[in-house]
C-alpha cells in the first residue's frame, strides 16, 4: 500500500519528515488527485495569503513556513500592544508599537531559511479582486466577524465557473479562551461564512432604559459611563479605547454610578473588558486552532490526505474547558445565504413597526448583523444611509410603519451595508400575527 519512495522538491535532508507524508500516499490518500512527484514541487511555487498577524496569525505563519509553503503574504493593519505578548510569540517587548505584519514576517523569514514572506500593513479592504486573485489559498486568523464576512464575500464574488483557478479555498480559525473552531470554505461549493453567521450571534445588548434608569450589574454601570456619560460630558474629543486615561475616566464614572445604586463589582479590568469587548486568549488554544487550519492547508495544497470541505465535514469545533471535546461535522450550504445562495432569507417582522425599528433591528439579528443598512423594496428606495442628500430625502420614511410604506407579507426587500459593498442581502418579510 505505502510506496517507499520520497519525492523531495528541495533540501531533502531538511524536509525529510514532511516529504515522507506529502510525497507518499497513505491508506486514506485519494489516488485520483494525488501525485507523489508533483506534490512537493507544486507547493514550492504556490502563493498563500494569511489574514491577521495576531494570536492565530503568528502561529499560522510559523506553521505554513514549516509545512513547505515558500511564498507567503500576510495582511494586518494593527501594531503590537503589550497585551499581545502572552501569546503572539513572534513579538518582544521592544517591538511594542511596530506593525504586526512586518515584525512577524521578518521573524519567520529569519528563522526558516528559503521562505519569502511579504507583509502588508493595511486593511484587507484596501485590496481589490486582482490582488486576491494571485493566491491559491487564503488562511484567516481574525478576531473580527466583519472582516471575515468581507473576505468571504469577496472570494465568493471572484468565482468564475469556467476558470478553475478562480476558486480560492478559505480556511478560517477562531478562538475564545479554551475553545475555538477551524473551518474550510470552498467558495460557492461548500457552506460559506455567511451561511454560518448565526452560529456566531452577537451578544445581546442591554436595553438603554436599563442603563439609564435601573442598572443592576457592574456591566450596566460601565455601559452607562461608556454610552451615556461620555457623550454628555465629552472629557476628551474622541474616545480611544486603548488610552488608559480614557478607560480610567470611564472606570471612575462607572464606580460613582455603582456607588449610587449600591452595585458591587466594578473594576478597572472589567471596565476595559466591557468597553473593548475583550475576548480572553491564550497561546495554547491559538496553537491548537492555527495548527488545525494549517494542517488543512497542507492537505489541500498537496492532496496527500483528504481535507475538510472535500466534500464531507467542513467544520471542526474544539472545546477544552471540560476535558477535550471536538465535533467535526458538515455545515450545509444555505440556499437563502445572501452571499452564496439564490433565495431571499425569511425575516420575522411586526407590520406595525416603523421603518426605523426595522432598520435598527438589523444589527442584533443573528442572521443579518448589519450596522448601517440601507433598504430598498421592488425598485423603491425606502432608506439610504448615504449620500447625505439621499439620506435626507428618505429620512421621513423612518417614522412610517411598514404597512404605511405599502410593504406586504412575503415581500422581498434588498438591504445593503457599506461594510459589505458587493453584497445585496435579500430578505422576505414574514409578518408576525
Amino acid at each position: 500500500m505505502t510506496s517507499t519512495e520520497v519525492h523531495p522538491a528541495s533540501e531533502p535532508a531538511r524536509w525529510v519528515y514532511l516529504d515522507r507524508i506529502r510525497t507518499r500516499p497513505g491508506p486514506s490518500t485519494n489516488p485520483d488527485v494525488f501525485s507523489p512527484e508533483a506534490a512537493a514541487a507544486a507547493m514550492e511555487t504556490m502563493k498563500i495569503l494569511v489574514i491577521g498577524a495576531g494570536g492565530l496569525g503568528c502561529e499560522i505563519l510559523k506553521n505554513l513556513a514549516l509545512s513547505g509553503f515558500k511564498d507567503i503574504h500576510v495582511i494586518d493593519m494593527d501594531t503590537i500592544d503589550i497585551s499581545n505578548l502572552n501569546r503572539q510569540f513572534l513579538f518582544r517587548q521592544a517591538d511594542v508599537g511596530k506593525y504586526k505584519a512586518e515584525v512577524a514576517a521578518r521573524f519567520v523569514e529569519k528563522r526558516v531559511k528559503g521562505i519569502k514572506i511579504t507583509p502588508h500593513n493595511c486593511k484587507i479592504q484596501d485590496f481589490d479582486e486582482d490582488f486576491y486573485m494571485q493566491f491559491q489559498l487564503v488562511v484567516c486568523g481574525l478576531d473580527s466577524i466583519e472582516a471575515r464576512r468581507w473576505i468571504n464575500a469577496t472570494l465568493v464574488n471572484m468565482v468564475d465557473e469556467d476558470v478553475e483557478d478562480s476558486y480560492k479555498p478559505l480556511i478560517d480559525g477562531g478562538t475564545e479562551g479554551f475553545k475555538g473552531q477551524a473551518r474550510v470554505i470552498i467558495p460557492t461549493i461548500t457552506s460559506c461564512i455567511e451561511c454560518q453567521l448565526d452560529m456566531h450571534a452577537p451578544r445581546a445588548a442591554v436595553p438603554l432604559c436599563t442603563l439609564a434608569s435601573i442598572p443592576r450589574q457592574p456591566e450596566h454601570c460601565i455601559e452607562w459611563a461608556h454610552l451615556i456619560a461620555w457623550d454628555q460630558e465629552k472629557p476628551f474629543p474622541q474616545l480611544d479605547k486603548d488610552d488608559p486615561e480614557h478607560i480610567t475616566w470611564l472606570y471612575q464614572k462607572a464606580l460613582e454610578r455603582a456607588a449610587e445604586f449600591n452595585i458591587p463589582g466594578v473594576t478597572y479590568s472589567l471596565t476595559q473588558g466591557v468597553v473593548k469587548n475583550i475576548i480572553p486568549a491564550i497561546a495554547a488554544t491559538n496553537s491548537v486552532i492555527a495548527a488545525a487550519c494549517c494542517n488543512e492547508a497542507l492537505k489541500i495544497a498537496s492532496n496527500c490526505a483528504p481535507a475538510l470541505g472535500f466534500p464531507e465535514a467542513n467544520y471542526m469545533m474544539y472545546s477544552g474547558n471540560d476535558s477535550i471535546y471536538t465535533y467535526t461535522f458538515k455545515h450545509e450550504k444555505k440556499d437563502d445565504c445572501p452571499v452564496c445562495g439564490q433565495l431571499a432569507r425569511n425575516m420575522d417582522v411586526d407590520p406595525t413597526w416603523t421603518l426605523r425599528e426595522l432598520v435598527d433591528s438589523f444589527a442584533a439579528r443573528p442572521e443579518a448583523q448589519l450596522k448601517k443598512p440601507s433598504v430598498r423594496a421592488e425598485g423603491r428606495t425606502l432608506y439610504m444611509q448615504s449620500p447625505p442628500s439621499l439620506e435626507a430625502q428618505t429620512r421621513p420614511n423612518l417614522d412610517r410603519t411598514l404597512v404605511e410604506l405599502g410593504l406586504e407579507e412575503g415581500q422581498e426587500i434588498a438591504v445593503t451595508d457599506p461594510a459589505f459593498a458587493t453584497v445585496t442581502f435579500k430578505f422576505k418579510l414574514k409578518f408576525k400575527q
Binding site: R20, L66, N86, A305
Partner: protein
C-alpha cells in the same frame, strides 16, 4: 423587609501593572490565583524522537509565564530538525538540542527560567532526577528508551508527580496523563447558564418574606411596579397560589409545570402601552429550568462516595471540606447555596436587596460548613477562602482519576494492560453499530498503532512490525481493518513529525498542564487521541 448593608471598599484608582497588562487576556481565564500557581510551577520536558511536540508544548507554557522549566534531550541538532522545529535554526546544527531549544524558547518570555540537560555537571536522566528540586509535572515524548521510562515512572510514584506521555507521528498523535492519585477540582468554571440555583421549591424564611412583601397586593401595583417585579418574586408568588390549589404540592411533572407556566403567562398585564411584560416573559421562560428539586450532581456524588486508602490525602483541605459538605447535605437535604443571582428585569434597589438575600444565605451556609470543617481533626488549618470557593462551586466539583489513585474501589485493581484490552473490545463493538448510531468511529486504532512504536528508538517499525506489537497488547485487534490502516499510516511517517500535528498536540498538552497546575477547568481522564486526517479528537480512559 430585610435591610441589607452593602460594605463596599472603594477600589484603589490606579491602572493595571505592567505584568497585569502583559497577562491580561489570560488573567481573565484563570485569575491571579491561577497565575500564581503557574509561576511557581517547575516543569521537566524529557524530549526524544523528532522532538517538536515537546518544544511546542513548552512554548505554550513559557508564554503564559510558567515559573521554570528544564529540558532533558540527548540529541544533537540535525538538518531534519530544522524542517520541523521552529525553536532551532541553522546556527544550532550539530549542537546540543536541549541547549538550543532552551535558548530559543526562553527568548519568548524574560520572566521564565530554563535549564538544559545533559550538560557537564549532570550527564544522565537518572542523576537529573536525583539532584533536582521536585518537578511539578513531567512531560516525556515518544519514542523513549524503556530504562528512562521506568526511571520517570519511579520518580512519579515517589514524588506524586503527574506524568504526561506524548506521541506525535505523521497525521496522528496522542497524549496520556498519569496523575499520581485522585485529582479533585473545585474551580471547574462551568458554563454560566448552568449555574443558576434559585431554590424556588425550598425557599428560606427571608426570601419568602421578601417575596410576600412585594406581592401581597399584586393586583394593586401600578404598571411600573408590576412590570418590574423580579421574576424570582413572581414565581414564588404564583407557586404559593398553586400550592394552595393543589394540596400544598408544587408542580412536579412536565405537564404540571407547563400548566403552571401558563398561569404565569396569563398573569402578565397586556393592557399597558407595551402590550406585555418582559419580567413575566422571563418568569415563564424560567419555569422549566428553575423549578427543580435539590439533587446531588454526579460529580459530587463521586466525591461523597470516594473511599480513601491514603490517610495523608484524607486530611487535605479538599477532603475535610468535602466531608463537611456531605454532613451538611445529609442534614439539610440540599447543598450550600452558591448565592449568585442572575440578572433579571427589576428596579435597581429591589434587585440589590434580593441579591443581598441570596448572598446572606450563601454566607450563612458557608459559615455552617466552616464550623463543621473546624470541628474535624486538622480542620483548623483549612483556609476559610477555600471553604467559600467550595460552597460556591459545590454542584460542579469534579474528581478526576477517581479509580486510578488511592481509591479502594474494585476498578483500580484492574491493570492497565487489561484496561486496554477491555477498551478495545468496547470500542470495536461500538464501531460495528456506528453506521446505525451515526456515532463517530473510534480513534483507538490510532492509539494502538502509535503505542506499538513507543520504544522504537533506533529504527522505525514497518506496518507488519507495528501489527505484531498490537497483537501482543490487544490480541485480535491486529485483524481489525482500521487498525491495519492506522499501522500503515504510522509506518508512512517512519517516526517523523508533521509540524502542524505537533503544534496542535503541543497546544492541547499545554492546556491540560495549565488545568492541572492551576487546578482550574477540568483535565482529560486520561488519554486524548488526535487524527489529523479527519480532524477530530477522542478522549479515552485507558
Amino acid at each position: 423587609m430585610t435591610e441589607i448593608v452593602m460594605s463596599q471598599t472603594p477600589p484603589i484608582l490606579h491602572g493595571p501593572s505592567e505584568k497585569e497588562r502583559k497577562y491580561d487576556r489570560q488573567l481573565r481565564l484563570w485569575a491571579a490565583s491561577g497565575q500564581a500557581a503557574l509561576e511557581s510551577a517547575n516543569i521537566l520536558l524529557v524530549n526524544s524522537g523528532a522532538g517538536t511536540v515537546g518544544a511546542e508544548t513548552l512554548k505554550n507554557l513559557v508564554l503564559p509565564g510558567i515559573g521554570r522549566f528544564a529540558i532533558y534531550d540527548e540529541a544533537q541538532v540535525e538538518e531534519a530538525d530544522l524542517g520541523v522545529n521552529f525553536f532551532l535554526d541553522d546556527s544550532c546544527l550539530g549542537k546540543s538540542r536541549s541547549q538550543s531549544l532552551r535558548d530559543l524558547i526562553t527568548e519568548l518570555n524574560p520572566d521564565v527560567q530554563g535549564t538544559w540537560y545533559p550538560n557537564e555537571g549532570v550527564k544522565t536522566l537518572e542523576s537529573l532526577l536525583a539532584d533536582s528540586p521536585v518537578f511539578t509535572a513531567i512531560i516525556y515524548t515518544h519514542p523513549i528508551r524503556l530504562d528512562q521510562l521506568s526511571q520517570l515512572k519511579a520518580y512519579g510514584q515517589q514524588h506524586k508527580t503527574p506524568l504526561v506521555a506524548v506521541h506525535s507521528a505523521g497525521f496522528y498523535s496522542y497524549f496520556q496523563i498519569n496523575l499520581p492519585g485522585a485529582f479533585p477540582i473545585v474551580d471547574t468554571h462551568p458554563d454560566e447558564t448552568a449555574t443558576t440555583d434559585l431554590r424556588l421549591l425550598t425557599p428560606w424564611p427571608e426570601l419568602v418574606a421578601f417575596a410576600e412583601g412585594l406581592t401581597k397586593d399584586i393586583g394593586g401595583l401600578d404598571n411600573f411596579e408590576h412590570g418590574h417585579l423580579p421574576y424570582v418574586v413572581i414565581l414564588l408568588h404564583y407557586l404559593e397560589q398553586w400550592k394552595a390549589a393543589h394540596d400544598g404540592k408544587y408542580p412536579t411533572t412536565y405537564k404540571e409545570k407547563t400548566e403552571f407556566r401558563k398561569v404565569v403567562q396569563d398573569a402578565a398585564r397586556t393592557g399597558n402601552p407595551e402590550g406585555g411584560e418582559e419580567n413575566f416573559d422571563e418568569a415563564a421562560a424560567a419555569v422549566l429550568k428553575t423549578l427543580v428539586p435539590p439533587s446531588l450532581p454526579s460529580g459530587l456524588k463521586e466525591v461523597f462516595e470516594y473511599e480513601h486508602s491514603d490517610p495523608v490525602e484524607q486530611r487535605s483541605g479538599f477532603w475535610l471540606i468535602a466531608d463537611a459538605v456531605k454532613q451538611f447535605y445529609e442534614k439539610h437535604q440540599c447543598l450550600p447555596l452558591p448565592g449568585k443571582l442572575p440578572d433579571m428585569k427589576a428596579q435597581s434597589k429591589v434587585y440589590i436587596q434580593l441579591q443581598g438575600i441570596y448572598k446572606a444565605k450563601a454566607r450563612k451556609d458557608a459559615a455552617e460548613i466552616l464550623q463543621m470543617v473546624q470541628a474535624a481533626p486538622g480542620g483548623e488549618r483549612v483556609d476559610p477562602a477555600e471553604v467559600d470557593l467550595f460552597c460556591k462551586n459545590a454542584a460542579f466539583v469534579k474528581l478526576i482519576n477517581a479509580t486510578g489513585g488511592g481509591g479502594s474501589s474494585s476498578s483500580s485493581k484492574i491493570s492497565r494492560a487489561d484496561r486496554l484490552k477491555s477498551a478495545a473490545a468496547l470500542e470495536f463493538a461500538n464501531d460495528e453499530t456506528a453506521a446505525f448510531t451515526l456515532a463517530p468511529l473510534s480513534l483507538l486504532p490510532i492509539y494502538l498503532a502509535l503505542q506499538a512504536t513507543a520504544h522504537a528508538v533506533d529504527k522505525p517499525l514497518n506496518a507488519d512490525g507495528i501489527l505484531a506489537v498490537v497483537a501482543e497488547q490487544a490480541p485480535g485487534a491486529e485483524q481489525n481493518e482500521r487498525v491495519v490502516q492506522a499501522a500503515q499510516e504510522v509506518a508512512r511517517a517512519a517516526g517523523g513529525e508533521l509540524h502542524n500535528v505537533s503544534a496542535l498536540t503541543g497546544g492541547m498538552v499545554a492546556q491540560e498542564l495549565i488545568k492541572i497546575v492551576t487546578k482550574q477547568y477540568i483535565p482529560i481522564d486520561n488519554t486524548c487521541v488526535y487524527d489529523g486526517i479527519v480532524a477530530r479528537c477522542q478522549v479515552l480512559r485507558l
